[in-house]
Amino acid sequence: MSWYLVRRVGQAIVVVIGVMVLTFILIHMEPGSVARSILGIRATASRMAIFNATYGLNQPLYKQFIDYVNQVVHGNLGTSYYLQQPVSSLFAQRLPRDLFLLGTSTVLALLISIPMGIYQAVRRGGIGDNTLSAVTFTLYCMPAFWFAVMLVAVFAIQLHIFAPLAPTGTSLGSMLTQPRALVLPILTLTLIQVAGFSRYMRSSAIDTLAQDYLRVARAKGLPERLVLARHVLRNSLLPIVTIVGLSLPGLVTGAIVVEEVFNYQGMGLLFYSAATRHDFPILLGSTLIVGVATVVGNLAADIAYGILDPRVRYVSD
């Protein structure tokens, strides 16, 4: 297992470096003047020259890349052209907010969808299963922005139960002091994820329920409760683990739709704004973070697989 881990970490580093190089080249292939794009239609030649000199854009591309790598190695992701703040500071402000929002909703979604999927599998074809299937299909095919807008319209504008906006504070502490403002954004993301997770869980559990070892477990006299908890649950979790691992990059890229609807300053909006403004340092920093999160997510999923399924451990050892 340890050699397997070393090998996977090595692969991950190569992937991250590849992502960094490719992104740098692609971004700098964009047509047009970055200085004009950032400084606006009234930018003078002298201001554009100052801008290019300040950010090294007047250097050859290979020199810019070397400088960038040197910065990254020293933990410096550069300064946003537009926001004029260190990219690392911008990430430090927004990343915890997204991790909280998306992390909370993902955990809640798992807590709901795992038992729900097993229930549906056990009661396959029954009224409960059909009803929940209808609900989850409806949620699954509903665009996130529409669902969010509907929740705001009903619970904030009509009923005045919850706030229409996310908390205004920038720290996690200040956000937690406004629980009413957290309900709708978390609810939106949770229910959208429940729709997906529960379908996978149901499908996986149905497969597991048909396995011979369950028959053996029941024949040994194991109570149904323990059959479900020990055998069905554990074996049905494998596809969910993969999905959760793959969703890790989503935790750091943010949920742009929800961020827009609920006025939530997160990574998604930061990345989107940077893309439209040609704010290269943020784009490069975001891509790097997402690249790292992707390989870490995959790695975590593989490790979890090994824990849940001993066969994976034996093969890799």
């Binding site: 400084l39 009234r42 904030a156 005045h160 229409p164 906006l165 920038t170 827009e260 939530y264």
Partner: protein, 606 residues
């Protein structure tokens, strides 16, 4: 040639995307806004903005900083010398300006300014030394000032002399228009406290370091560095010494929420009633509207024109509205040096025909629901009526007339194919021929680029596309994000043909104006915003005259000539709709220039 700085105009313009401007013609609906009842002291107001995140508090930001909202942050703390806008009027507000007298002599080459005997928040007097401090810093460091444009303050200043504690004499290198200097130059110069800021480090005692070039650079660098440190905006002692009606009370780490409290030592004539007001950034219009419809967390906001049908619901939720015209010029710029079709656009009659095919009144009514300036020339008649010529007020030289447009093209040798593609039938440069450089069979088919993301812009371009088609002028519409668009739209001229000159027609949105709406580098030869390469000695002369003489007749000549020559196809300029809780008073009437900086006049009633 003199080029004009934007400064406040940019700030105002940005604010106007959310709130917008108005003027004497602004119309208010609902009971609130205008003076009513007995004002009470106290109360808190939240002003909503779209995507507004200031990041720099020192009033003179670096050349690389383009965040126009920094002016929104700093103007309530350190007002500019001239306060533009008075109630609903687009005029200089003398009672709020920092000078009590401003006179010009020596053939308009000398300005003598007397500062009012006001005080900084720490009790120190505002003196002429504060102005020389600003001048000394900028004189040495103008290249690293984001609002500097060549040929203007401070490089057009020969000398500044403080003749007494409150009087400064500014000698210029050339004659200036007093109106231009008063309204457009001094409006961009914010006064800062020499007695508190003239130092080069936190621990250093205040001195007269600005009086040498090296000292001025050191002070400037120190203040700029301090001004970028968001976490100390409310704690750094530098920023606690203010002259404006407000003091910054809180500022969150990403600039999305910041609040002010009254400066108890404010010397100005209108003391704040509110105990607090704050600016809150929103990611989108719809998020802001949801907040307004859900409750009362937003006191003042704006309504996108494509959501004008929500006015009823918002009024039911307790809001009133006021229209706020934008002071600026907008239109479709033809690339006169496009390799393929530049020769077509160089023909004045082609530009005239294209202008006559734009149904401005219909666009104003159908696209903007009446909330727009018709846009018939370089000066908006609703936002700056006192500077709009009779020709512009009467509808401009080229009202909508498809028949005249078609005839004009036919008279110049074009085979007009309505709803098809008109082609040049008679090539040549004679009076009945298409014009020099235009080939026989050349098609009137052009690509029109415009910024994406605004529904009304999409609708306007579609309307223009349809109306131009009446004369067989085929427009292919293409939208791009604004920053992408300006990054790829090169400034194209006869002499320097940029690599990004493949574009044919572009609508870049509006260029904001200051109260004296002379050219902003849009029409003058070599102007920084003269993307299409328009160059006309008469135009240049008239522009120059507007900046060196204060004659309304001179200004009208420039204005009418520009309207007739069509360096751009003038199009309607949208207005803004400001929403405010009906219990808030003192907000309207609004003008385009101080609309977002008058919180000291706002109040609730007893």
């Amino acid at each position: 040639m003199r080029m004009i700085r934007l400064a406040a105009a940019v700030g105002a313009a940005l604010t106007l995307t959310l709130s917008a401007a108005a003027c004497s013609s602004s119309k208010s609906s609902g009971p609130g806004g205008s003076a009513a009842g007995t004002p009470k002291h106290g109360g808190s107001v939240t002003v909503a903005w779209i995507d507004a995140e200031p990041n720099f508090i020192f009033p003179f930001a670096p050349a690389t900083n383009t965040d126009g909202y920094n002016q929104n942050l700093t103007l309530p703390l350190w007002p500019a010398l001239t306060y533009d806008g008075d109630g609903g009027q687009s005029i200089v507000n003398q009672k709020e300006s920092l000078w009590s007298n401003l006179s010009f002599s020596n053939g308009n080459k000398t300005a003598t300014m007397t500062l009012k005997p006001w005080k900084w928040s720490d009790g120190a007097p505002i003196t002429s030394r504060d102005f020389t401090f600003v001048y000394n810093l900028l004189k040495t460091n103008y290249k690293n000032w984001n609002l500097y444009l060549p040929g203007t303050f401070p490089t057009d200043v020969q000398s500044v002399t403080a003749t007494d504690e409150h009087t400064v004499v500014i000698n210029l290198t050339a004659a200036t228009s007093p109106d231009f200097f008063t309204e457009d130059v001094l409006n961009n110069v914010q006064l800062i406290p020499q007695h508190a800021w003239d130092k080069t480090s936190d621990s250093q005692a205040v001195g007269n370091y600005d009086q040498t070039p090296s000292g001025a650079t050191a002070v400037y660098n120190y203040l700029q560095k301090a001004g970028s440190q968001i976490s100390t905006f409310t704690t750094n002692p530098l920023w606690k010494v203010v002259a404006g009606p407000w003091k910054l009370n809180d500022f969150n780490s990403d600039g999305t929420l910041y609040g002010y409290v009254p400066n108890k030592n404010y010397s100005g004539p209108v003391k704040p009633y509110l105990s607090r007001w704050e600016n809150q950034a929103f990611t989108t219009d719809s998020a802001m509207l949801d907040a307004m419809r859900a409750g009362r967390t937003v006191t003042v906001g704006s309504l996108p024109l494509n959501d004008a049908n929500q006015l009823g619901a918002l009024k039911a939720a307790g809001y009133s509205s006021v229209q706020l015209p934008i002071a600026g010029v907008t239109g479709i710029t033809p690339n006169l040096y496009n390799a393929q079709d530049g020769t077509i656009f160089q023909q004045l009659y082609v530009r005239q025909a294209m202008e006559q095919l734009i149904n401005r009144n219909q666009i104003v009514q159908k696209v903007y629901n009446g909330y727009a300036d018709p846009g018939v020339g370089p000066v908006p008649v609703t936002a700056i009526p006192n500077m709009a010529s009779p020709l512009e007020k009467s509808g401009g030289p080229y009202p909508y007339n498809p028949t005249a447009a078609i005839n004009l093209l036919k008279q110049h040798g074009w085979n007009v194919v309505p709803n098809g593609v008109t082609t040049c039938q008679s090539a040549g440069s004679g009076p009945t021929q298409c014009g020099a450089g235009i080939k026989a069979g050349q098609r009137m088919e052009f690509q029109l680029l415009y910024p994406s993301g605004r529904t009304t812009t999409e609708e306007q371009e579609a309307a223009i596309q349809a109306s131009e088609a009446q004369a067989g002028i085929k427009l292919d519409l293409k939208s791009e994000p604004f920053n992408t668009l300006i990054g790829t739209t090169g400034v194209c001229t006869a002499s320097s043909h940029s690599q990004n000159c493949g574009w044919q027609l572009v609508d870049l949105g509006y260029t904001p104006y200051l109260p004296y709406p002379s050219d902003q580098g849009v029409f003058v030869t070599g102007g920084s915003s003269n993307f299409g390469g328009y160059s006309d000695p008469t135009e240049d002369r008239l522009i120059n005259e507007t900046e060196t003489a204060s004659s309304q007749q001179t200004f009208f000549q420039y204005e009418d000539y520009t309207a007739r020559q069509l360096p751009m196809l003038f199009t309607p300029l949208r207005a803004g709709i400001v929403l405010y809780q009906s219990s808030l008073h003192g907000l309207s009437p609004l003008n385009p220039f101080s609309a977002d900086n008058t919180e000291e006049t706002w109040y609730f009633t007893k």
